[in-house]
């Protein structure tokens, strides 16, 4: 049995602790890894684009980070609040903070869906088709329900068969324009989902 003096014990203990600190805990290795992580940030080298949140009329500013892939397609990396915006100062509400998911969700429907009268299934159609369809329906409803003169002989020129509800993301200018357009068609039933 070797004899270990008190002095020897302390010497070995100190050396062992030092060795663990330097190599076992791996300060040099950790430093290398952290440097690598810093260089591999998801948005490193990405293009910053400024945009506006699509959800409500507050109009929070967004920063969208995109990068060109080698095949030429643009990849969306991250969307976050714009710290330079006086509107939201970098913050986003929970819904706005998920704007990224709105953009990249595989369940997102990317074209208008149309179900013809009597059909059992929806089918994807073009925007031209849908806009023509809406225009035709507006024209037909307006023709069928336009009142030029009311029962007492007053000129009224109103469309009674169409109602309009403005979207929640309308700005003041869009709200003005939508109202102007609908009044031009003779609509009297106008509403606005103002969320502010």
């Amino acid at each position: 049995m070797p004899t270990v003096t008190r002095r020897d014990f302390l010497k070995f203990s100190a050396a062992g602790a030092g060795a663990v600190a330097l190599s076992g805990l791996g300060f040099d290795e950790a430093l290398a890894k952290s440097t690598q992580i810093k260089q591999n940030l998801r948005i490193a080298g990405a293009k910053e684009s400024h945009s506006v949140c699509p959800y409500c009329a507050v109009g929070c500013s967004l920063v969208a980070y995109t990068r060109q892939s080698s095949d030429g397609s643009t990849q969306l990396l991250q969307i976050e609040g714009d710290p330079d915006s006086p509107v939201n100062e970098g913050r986003l509400c929970p819904k706005g903070a998920t704007a990224m998911q709105l953009a990249i969700s595989p369940r997102r429907v990317e074209s208008p869906q149309y179900r013809a009268p009597g059909a059992t299934a929806w089918k994807s159609v073009s925007w031209d088709f849908v806009l023509d369809k809406i225009a035709n329906n507006i024209k037909a409803s307006r023709d069928a329900t336009f009142v030029t003169t009311d029962g007492n002989g007053n000129t009224v020129n109103r469309t009674e068969g169409i109602a309009f509800a403005g979207g929640a993301a309308f700005s003041s200018e869009e709200g003005y324009f939508a109202t102007k357009l609908m009044r031009g068609l003779g609509l009297v039933h106008l509403e606005q989902q103002a969320r502010v």
Binding site: D143, A144, D150, G151
Partner: protein, 141 residues
């Protein structure tokens, strides 16, 4: 109370004329007829048959009513049905007297009234309640 409307024989703009026929149908008119020369009535009724789907069409005679009946898918009538009684009226001056006239004829047992075309008819048929346009007041502020 049913309402039959007699459109004029003169057509200034075909689009407006046929839009009026469609608007009458949408407003709830029971029957549409045409005034004037029977030969012209057939032509105009055939055009109206093409753009409407529910309203009945008053044919000028029993001759050739079959063709209009097929064109309109069974909506052509040459004579009043035996159990019905239609009363020709002139259009009253305002909504209140329109409601009163309809009420009087209904009390007297008439099936409906036959009235010449007037722009006011669209509103009178769409909104029969006298002066109750609170929906419009609310939406216009």
């Amino acid at each position: 109370m049913k309402v039959a409307v007699i459109l004029p024989a003169s057509i200034v703009d075909a689009g407006d004329y046929l839009a009026n026929a469609r608007a009458l149908e949408a407003a709830g008119a029971e029957m549409i007829g045409v005034d004037g020369d029977p030969e012209l009535q057939w032509m105009i009724l055939a055009a109206i048959a093409a753009v409407t789907s529910r309203v009945k069409l008053r044919a000028p005679s029993e001759q050739r009513v079959d063709l209009l009946d097929r064109l309109s898918r069974g909506r052509a009538l040459a004579n009043e049905p035996a159990h019905e009684r239609w009363v020709p009226i002139v259009l009253p001056a305002d909504r209140a007297s329109w409601a009163a006239v309809l009420h009087d004829h209904e009390e007297a047992g008439a099936t409906g009234v036959v009235v010449p075309w007037d722009e006011r008819l669209i509103d009178l048929l769409r909104n029969p309640e006298p002066e109750d346009r609170s929906d419009l007041l609310m939406s216009t502020g």
